[in-house]
Protein backbone atom coordinates (compact mmCIF):
# COMPACT_ATOMS: atom_id res chain seq x y z
CA UNK A 1 0.00 0.00 0.00
CA UNK A 2 2.80 2.35 0.86
CA UNK A 3 4.54 1.52 -2.37
CA UNK A 4 1.39 2.12 -4.36
CA UNK A 5 0.89 5.49 -2.80
CA UNK A 6 4.45 6.54 -3.46
CA UNK A 7 4.13 5.54 -7.10
CA UNK A 8 1.03 7.65 -7.36
CA UNK A 9 2.85 10.52 -5.74
CA UNK A 10 5.73 10.30 -8.15
CA UNK A 11 3.35 10.45 -11.03
CA UNK A 12 1.62 13.43 -9.52
CA UNK A 13 4.93 15.21 -9.03
CA UNK A 14 5.69 14.51 -12.69
CA UNK A 15 2.49 16.23 -13.63
CA UNK A 16 3.36 19.08 -11.32
CA UNK A 17 -0.11 19.14 -9.92
CA UNK A 18 0.21 17.86 -6.37
CA UNK A 19 -2.05 20.49 -4.84
CA UNK A 20 -4.82 19.78 -7.29
CA UNK A 21 -4.50 16.06 -6.74
CA UNK A 22 -4.66 16.43 -2.97
CA UNK A 23 -7.66 18.72 -3.18
CA UNK A 24 -9.42 16.30 -5.48
CA UNK A 25 -8.76 13.44 -3.07
CA UNK A 26 -6.83 11.48 -5.68
CA UNK A 27 -4.31 10.31 -3.13
CA UNK A 28 -6.67 8.28 -0.96
CA UNK A 29 -6.68 6.01 0.83
CA UNK A 30 -3.07 6.77 1.90
CA UNK A 31 -1.89 9.97 3.55
CA UNK A 32 -1.95 13.16 1.59
CA UNK A 33 1.74 13.76 2.12
CA UNK A 34 4.70 11.73 1.00
CA UNK A 35 7.29 10.11 3.27
CA UNK A 36 8.06 11.62 6.68
CA UNK A 37 9.71 14.92 5.71
CA UNK A 38 13.17 14.67 7.27
CA UNK A 39 14.30 18.00 5.87
CA UNK A 40 11.37 19.84 7.42
CA UNK A 41 11.65 18.04 10.75
CA UNK A 42 15.37 18.79 10.99
CA UNK A 43 15.03 22.46 10.06
CA UNK A 44 16.19 24.80 12.83
CA UNK A 45 13.68 27.56 12.11
CA UNK A 46 9.97 27.50 11.50
CA UNK A 47 10.44 29.38 8.23
CA UNK A 48 12.96 26.85 6.91
CA UNK A 49 10.63 24.03 7.87
CA UNK A 50 7.71 25.75 6.16
CA UNK A 51 9.84 26.20 3.05
CA UNK A 52 10.71 22.50 3.06
CA UNK A 53 6.99 21.75 3.28
CA UNK A 54 6.04 24.28 0.60
CA UNK A 55 4.07 26.33 3.13
CA UNK A 56 6.18 29.46 3.42
CA UNK A 57 3.70 31.49 1.39
CA UNK A 58 0.94 30.93 3.96
CA UNK A 59 -1.27 33.95 4.49
CA UNK A 60 -2.59 35.13 7.84
CA UNK A 61 -6.03 33.89 8.69
CA UNK A 62 -8.54 34.60 11.44
CA UNK A 63 -10.35 31.36 10.70
CA UNK A 64 -7.99 29.10 12.59
CA UNK A 65 -8.61 28.67 16.32
CA UNK A 66 -5.73 27.66 18.58
CA UNK A 67 -6.70 26.82 22.12
CA UNK A 68 -3.59 26.60 24.26
CA UNK A 69 -2.71 28.00 27.68
CA UNK A 70 -1.38 31.57 27.89
CA UNK A 71 0.97 30.22 30.56
CA UNK A 72 1.70 26.51 30.50
CA UNK A 73 1.82 24.80 33.86
CA UNK A 74 4.54 22.52 32.56
CA UNK A 75 6.40 22.92 29.28
CA UNK A 76 6.77 19.15 29.01
CA UNK A 77 3.05 18.73 28.36
CA UNK A 78 1.29 21.67 26.72
CA UNK A 79 -2.22 20.81 25.49
CA UNK A 80 -3.22 22.35 22.18
CA UNK A 81 -6.60 22.19 20.43
CA UNK A 82 -6.66 23.37 16.84
CA UNK A 83 -9.82 23.92 14.82
CA UNK A 84 -9.83 25.20 11.26
CA UNK A 85 -12.91 27.01 10.04
CA UNK A 86 -11.50 27.29 6.53
CA UNK A 87 -13.63 25.35 4.03
CA UNK A 88 -11.84 22.45 2.38
CA UNK A 89 -9.16 22.09 5.08
CA UNK A 90 -6.94 19.12 4.26
CA UNK A 91 -4.18 19.31 6.85
CA UNK A 92 -3.08 21.09 10.01
CA UNK A 93 0.64 21.65 10.72
CA UNK A 94 2.20 22.80 13.98
CA UNK A 95 5.43 24.73 14.51
CA UNK A 96 6.81 25.70 17.91
CA UNK A 97 8.99 28.57 16.81
CA UNK A 98 11.49 28.64 19.71
CA UNK A 99 12.01 24.87 19.92
CA UNK A 100 15.37 23.59 18.56
CA UNK A 101 13.41 21.83 15.80
CA UNK A 102 10.24 23.90 15.38
CA UNK A 103 8.30 21.61 13.04
CA UNK A 104 6.23 19.39 15.32
CA UNK A 105 3.87 17.63 12.97
CA UNK A 106 1.20 17.60 10.31
CA UNK A 107 -2.27 16.14 10.80
CA UNK A 108 -4.01 14.99 7.66
CA UNK A 109 -7.76 15.46 7.95
CA UNK A 110 -8.52 15.25 4.24
CA UNK A 111 -9.93 11.75 4.15
CA UNK A 112 -12.83 11.76 6.53
CA UNK A 113 -11.78 13.63 9.67
CA UNK A 114 -13.10 16.97 10.86
CA UNK A 115 -10.62 19.90 10.64
CA UNK A 116 -9.69 19.49 14.32
CA UNK A 117 -6.87 17.98 16.34
CA UNK A 118 -5.84 17.83 19.98
CA UNK A 119 -2.16 17.20 20.68
CA UNK A 120 0.18 17.70 23.64
CA UNK A 121 3.65 19.03 22.97
CA UNK A 122 6.92 19.96 24.62
CA UNK A 123 7.77 23.65 24.66
CA UNK A 124 11.30 24.41 25.85
CA UNK A 125 10.86 28.14 26.39
CA UNK A 126 8.10 30.69 25.88
CA UNK A 127 7.29 30.59 22.19
CA UNK A 128 4.72 31.31 19.54
CA UNK A 129 2.89 28.17 18.48
CA UNK A 130 2.31 28.58 14.75
CA UNK A 131 -0.33 26.64 12.89
CA UNK A 132 -0.49 26.31 9.12
CA UNK A 133 -3.64 24.98 7.52
CA UNK A 134 -3.74 23.66 3.99
CA UNK A 135 -7.06 24.19 2.21
CA UNK A 136 -7.95 24.23 -1.44
CA UNK A 137 -4.30 24.10 -2.44
CA UNK A 138 -3.44 27.21 -0.43
CA UNK A 139 -1.93 27.73 3.01
CA UNK A 140 -3.22 29.82 5.88
CA UNK A 141 -1.56 30.58 9.19
CA UNK A 142 -1.99 32.00 12.64
CA UNK A 143 0.02 31.80 15.87
CA UNK A 144 -0.51 31.93 19.61
CA UNK A 145 2.10 32.78 22.23
CA UNK A 146 2.54 30.23 25.03
CA UNK A 147 4.56 31.23 28.07
CA UNK A 148 6.49 28.57 29.94
CA UNK A 149 7.25 29.27 33.60
CA UNK A 150 9.76 27.65 35.87
CA UNK A 151 8.40 25.50 38.62
CA UNK A 152 8.78 25.25 42.36
CA UNK A 153 9.43 21.98 44.08
CA UNK A 154 6.69 19.53 44.97
CA UNK A 155 3.76 18.46 42.93
Amino acid sequence: MHRTRRTVLKGVWAMGALATAVAAGLLGPGRAFAAWNKGAFEAKSALDAMRALGMSNAEDSKNIEIRAPDIAENGAVVPIDITSNIPGTTSISVFIEKNPFPYTGTFDVSQGAMPFVHVRVKIGESSPVRVVVAAGGKHYTTAKEVKVTIGGCGG
Binding site: A32, W36, A76, G105, V117, V119
Partner: protein, 106 residues
Protein backbone atom coordinates in the same frame (compact mmCIF):
# COMPACT_ATOMS: atom_id res chain seq x y z
CA UNK B 1 8.02 -4.20 23.45
CA UNK B 2 5.29 -1.73 22.67
CA UNK B 3 2.56 -1.47 25.28
CA UNK B 4 -1.12 -1.27 24.26
CA UNK B 5 -2.83 2.01 23.45
CA UNK B 6 -5.97 3.18 25.16
CA UNK B 7 -8.55 4.25 22.60
CA UNK B 8 -11.91 5.84 23.26
CA UNK B 9 -14.51 6.72 20.65
CA UNK B 10 -17.75 8.54 21.42
CA UNK B 11 -20.43 8.97 18.78
CA UNK B 12 -22.14 12.32 18.38
CA UNK B 13 -24.46 11.88 15.44
CA UNK B 14 -22.26 10.48 12.68
CA UNK B 15 -19.06 11.98 14.08
CA UNK B 16 -16.83 9.83 16.28
CA UNK B 17 -14.86 11.80 18.84
CA UNK B 18 -11.69 9.71 19.06
CA UNK B 19 -9.22 10.05 21.92
CA UNK B 20 -6.11 7.95 22.13
CA UNK B 21 -3.30 7.46 24.66
CA UNK B 22 -0.04 5.87 23.55
CA UNK B 23 2.74 4.51 25.74
CA UNK B 24 5.98 5.80 24.27
CA UNK B 25 9.06 7.51 25.75
CA UNK B 26 9.32 10.13 22.96
CA UNK B 27 13.02 10.65 23.63
CA UNK B 28 14.33 13.91 22.21
CA UNK B 29 17.90 12.73 21.83
CA UNK B 30 18.98 15.54 24.13
CA UNK B 31 18.45 13.91 27.51
CA UNK B 32 21.31 12.32 29.39
CA UNK B 33 20.83 9.13 31.38
CA UNK B 34 22.11 8.56 34.92
CA UNK B 35 25.53 7.63 33.55
CA UNK B 36 25.72 10.93 31.63
CA UNK B 37 25.23 9.30 28.24
CA UNK B 38 22.88 10.85 25.71
CA UNK B 39 19.73 8.79 25.29
CA UNK B 40 19.19 8.31 21.55
CA UNK B 41 16.26 9.81 19.68
CA UNK B 42 13.28 7.50 20.03
CA UNK B 43 9.92 8.83 18.97
CA UNK B 44 6.74 8.05 17.10
CA UNK B 45 6.96 9.38 13.53
CA UNK B 46 3.64 8.44 12.01
CA UNK B 47 0.11 7.67 13.10
CA UNK B 48 -2.65 6.29 10.94
CA UNK B 49 -6.27 5.81 11.91
CA UNK B 50 -8.54 3.61 9.82
CA UNK B 51 -12.30 3.23 9.91
CA UNK B 52 -13.30 -0.20 8.59
CA UNK B 53 -9.94 -0.42 6.85
CA UNK B 54 -10.03 3.00 5.20
CA UNK B 55 -7.59 5.66 6.39
CA UNK B 56 -9.47 8.59 7.89
CA UNK B 57 -6.77 10.44 9.83
CA UNK B 58 -2.99 10.42 9.65
CA UNK B 59 -0.12 12.32 11.18
CA UNK B 60 3.59 12.83 10.74
CA UNK B 61 5.26 14.07 13.90
CA UNK B 62 8.47 14.95 15.67
CA UNK B 63 10.05 14.25 19.04
CA UNK B 64 8.40 17.45 20.35
CA UNK B 65 5.17 15.58 20.95
CA UNK B 66 4.97 14.88 24.70
CA UNK B 67 6.01 11.58 26.25
CA UNK B 68 3.12 9.07 26.36
CA UNK B 69 1.33 10.94 23.56
CA UNK B 70 -2.30 11.97 23.72
CA UNK B 71 -4.29 12.79 20.60
CA UNK B 72 -7.88 13.56 19.82
CA UNK B 73 -9.54 13.86 16.44
CA UNK B 74 -13.03 13.57 14.98
CA UNK B 75 -14.01 11.07 12.32
CA UNK B 76 -16.93 11.81 10.02
CA UNK B 77 -19.40 9.21 8.78
CA UNK B 78 -18.93 6.80 11.66
CA UNK B 79 -21.63 4.58 13.14
CA UNK B 80 -22.02 2.00 15.88
CA UNK B 81 -20.33 -1.27 14.97
CA UNK B 82 -17.62 0.36 12.86
CA UNK B 83 -14.11 -0.88 13.47
CA UNK B 84 -11.57 1.80 14.28
CA UNK B 85 -7.91 0.86 14.23
CA UNK B 86 -4.95 3.04 15.07
CA UNK B 87 -1.33 2.35 14.20
CA UNK B 88 1.81 4.16 15.22
CA UNK B 89 5.32 3.62 13.95
CA UNK B 90 8.46 5.04 15.52
CA UNK B 91 11.88 5.96 14.19
CA UNK B 92 13.33 2.58 15.20
CA UNK B 93 10.73 0.79 13.07
CA UNK B 94 8.79 -0.39 16.10
CA UNK B 95 5.04 -0.27 15.54
CA UNK B 96 1.81 -1.06 17.28
CA UNK B 97 -1.81 -1.36 16.17
CA UNK B 98 -4.83 -1.39 18.47
CA UNK B 99 -8.47 -1.37 17.54
CA UNK B 100 -11.93 -1.02 18.93
CA UNK B 101 -15.49 -1.37 17.78
CA UNK B 102 -17.39 1.88 18.03
CA UNK B 103 -20.39 1.60 20.28
CA UNK B 104 -23.69 3.45 20.10
CA UNK B 105 -23.92 6.62 22.14
CA UNK B 106 -25.38 5.83 25.58
Amino acid sequence: MAEPMKIRATLQGDVADVRVLMAHPMETGQRKDAAGKLVPLHFIQTITAQLNGKTVFAADMSQAVSRNPVFAFKVKGAKAGDKLSITWQDNTGDKRTDELVIRAAP
